[in-house]
Amino acid sequence: MALSPAIPSPHTSNTNSVTAKVKTLNMGGGAAPQNTTSTAGQGQELAEQLNDETKKKYVKDKKIGEGTYAIVYLGHLRADPKSKVAIKKIKVNAEYREGLSLDAIREVKFLQELSHPNIPALYSVFSSKNQNLNLVLEYLPLGDLEQLIRDVDGVRYGSADVKAWMGMLGRAVWFCHENFVLHRDIKPNNLLIAADGEVKLADFGLARSFSDPYRVMTHQVITRWYRPPELLFGARYYSGAVDVWSMGTVFAELIIRTPFLAGNSDVHQLELICQFVGTPNDDNWPGVSKLPDYVPFGKDGSQSYPVRGRDFYLQTFSTVGPVGVDLLMSMLSLDPRKRATAREILNHKWWATDPAPTKKEDLPKKGGGGEARMAEDLKRRAGELEDGRGAKVARILDFSGMK
């Protein structure tokens, strides 16, 4: 944790002193007046000095990617040339006249608060000239899970590996929920891989803290293939169960190595859910028909599918065994109230069933291309939903075509 900001040593009481911090904050006080003599008369304010001090701690080495939303650099700590960090410089959008964008704010807000081995560390934030915001992030060079899933020919993995990856995702989601944060965009290409194999749940651009009772939330979140039925039905009050559904679809995808429910429109997505999970109705999900955008699938001649039983799952997802299948089914419950919670998932007996999860350093890795891939992942606008099937399918075809 050499890169972490100064953390005061633990004390016994919560209202204790934070001496180190006050020193930092006052550091500028003594040095400051020297600057006031410049002809411009622009003596730096305390906050500017602190910012400059932070900025000087890092060196940008080279640009490793650029998108419309951000430029990504590989960098290091000035004091430690061997260290590696990713510096994500968020571009000021000249078109956007509302100040700091919401997704940038969300990303900074949540990464500042959540420190956990399965969430990318945000070491520092500073501004460079032109008021660009720079996020100094943990360097995650080994791509993302989507890449591994798609590279069917190049990457082989088994149920012990899936267990390790799902365990890391499960701990990340549990930690978010424990801190009252909904991620709202869990999908394989937001699961980045560190040099040591650790998977990190990234991209908090759509995250929010739990709502208060009776206060509405938007249902336009989570990339479609990973979006739960309650959001597709327009629910404005929901819980961590939305993230758990996404986890379930990621779990399924890891096993079958293709997206489990790849709808090309919201309606199609619901149709696929009906077909492969079961048609929601007031019997298997009391109250579903009262959701704002509820569509009664399975009426007026269209086929109604019963909720899939264990046999279907055993057949389709056999590699994770019957206990693993039980876990998957508990994540894909149509009724969000019956869906497993993140805590229940971590307490599931699958983790203790053979085979044991692969040690992170022994997990399959994608060879090469790390820098480029992290740049790809980071330069996307945080919270950007890759919508439209075309792009996605093209990417899949690309990968399957690669030998």
Binding site: P5, I7, P8, P10, T12, S13, N14, T15, N16, S17, V18, T19, K21, V22, L25, N26, G28, G29, A32, P33, T36, T39, A40, G41, Q42, G43, Q44, E45, L46, A47, E48, L50, V92, R97, E98, G99, L100, L102, I105, V108, K109, Q112, E113, S115, V125, F126, S127, K129, N130, Q131, L133, F175, E178, N179, R208, S209, S211, D212, R215, M217
Partner: protein
């Protein structure tokens, strides 16, 4: 993971928690630095005027704001922020976050450098973004009352300055949910076996006599304390230094204590004994809660001396840093290429400082 460990990982704890002594030191150094800057800047401005032949005669020493005057002024505009949030009918969290942003910003900035009036608008707007209550900038600006219409640029120009002063931490942890949870627990207790004990409690300070308290239904008493505590959290807790010197959990307990001390003691006694180093952590907790309750004041809560605030607001007009007055120009200058070059004005000289009035809404 214990709740304590989780809280200690928050930026509110790591960057924004202080002892009262640390707060005083911090504010004093901010004030001293700003005052020296203001004197130097005003001197420069006077010399420039002399060169232009506008000799204004006798030069007086600039009378800068004291630390307590700065606090009065910031407190006054925190109150104004709350009024403005009420006008917009924003939820409590937006309102409270905006106020805490201002309070945090003015730990390292002086109102002599950046007057709180424009920062107030920016804080409130930023809070709508960070608290999931986003309001479009044009709509936000158009609804701000005042003699002169507020433009979107007025609101947004200091945003960068503000976020930098907040050290890019946007989360403020509030005591509101904790209070709701505590009240639910208390209501649960009232229905159960401890209910009898609850009815036998000493009356709260506000209750007329022991007899009326005894006659009072336990649920009623809890609800009365709830209302008072909630009010304190929305007002005094925002305007005092409570957020800096304690945690959200202690803060709602303190509000409950200020509302009905016997009830708060009863509640604490129902909890499993506190573990922790040192002697009698339970007693220490109670002492801390009582101390914070004192800060929140009587059930009437915190009041601002408006006349005094107006006096300070008039005074600050003579000791403002003339180089930091035009926030829009400062902002434009930063956006087009780093810090200012050679004292050039970025634009908008028409914004005459002297036309400002003491009234926040014009």
């Amino acid at each position: 993971m214990t709740e304590d460990a989780a809280y200690r990982a928050s930026t509110q704890y790591k960057l924004w928690s202080f002892t009262p002594a640390q707060l005083s030191t911090f504010r004093a150094s901010t004030n001293a630095l700003a005052a020296s800057r203001v004197r130097a800047a005003i001197k420069r401005a006077r010399e420039a005027q002399k060169l232009d032949g506008e000799d204004e005669g006798e030069e007086k020493e600039v009378d800068c704001l004291t630390v307590s005057e700065e606090e009065i002024l910031v407190g006054y505009y925190c109150g104004k922020t709350m009024e403005l949030a009420d006008l917009f009918e924003f939820p409590t969290n937006v309102k409270a976050t905006a106020v805490q942003y201002l309070k945090r910003f003015y730990l390292s900035n002086s109102p002599m450098t950046y007057h709180p009036k424009p920062l107030m608008l920016t804080s409130l707007f930023l809070a709508t973004k960070t608290e999931n209550h986003y309001t479009r900038l044009t709509a936000f600006a158009s609804r701000i009352p005042g003699k002169k219409p507020t433009t979107p640029e007025d609101v947004i120009a200091p945003e960068f300055l503000l976020t930098q002063g907040l050290r890019f931490t946007f989360e403020v942890r509030h005591p509101f949910r904790g209070l709701e949870g505590g009240i639910m627990s208390l209501l649960g207790l009232a229905g159960g076996e401890p209910g009898a004990k609850l009815r036998a409690l000493d009356p709260a300070d506000g209750a007329a006599t022991a007899a009326t308290a005894a006659a009072q239904d336990a649920g009623e008493r809890i609800r009365a304390a709830h209302a008072k505590a909630k009010h304190l959290l929305k007002t005094s807790a925002q305007l005092t230094d409570a957020y800096f010197v304690t945690t959200p959990a202690h803060l709602w307990l303190a509000a409950l204590y200020a509302a009905d001390a016997p009830l708060c003691r009863f509640f604490l006694a129902t909890l499993p004994p506190l573990a922790g180093p040192g002697e009698d952590p339970g007693a220490r907790l109670l002492a801390h809660v009582a101390e914070v309750a004192g800060l929140l004041g009587s059930p009437l809560g915190y009041t601002t001396d408006v006349a005094e605030a107006r006096r300070v607001d008039r005074k600050v007009y003579f000791c403002r840093n003339p180089e930091k007055v035009d926030l829009k120009a400062l902002n434009r200058r930063q956006r087009v290429g780093g810090r200012g070059s050679g004292g050039e004005e970025g634009g908008e000289k028409g914004e005459d400082v002297r036309t400002r009035d003491g009234e926040v809404f014009g």
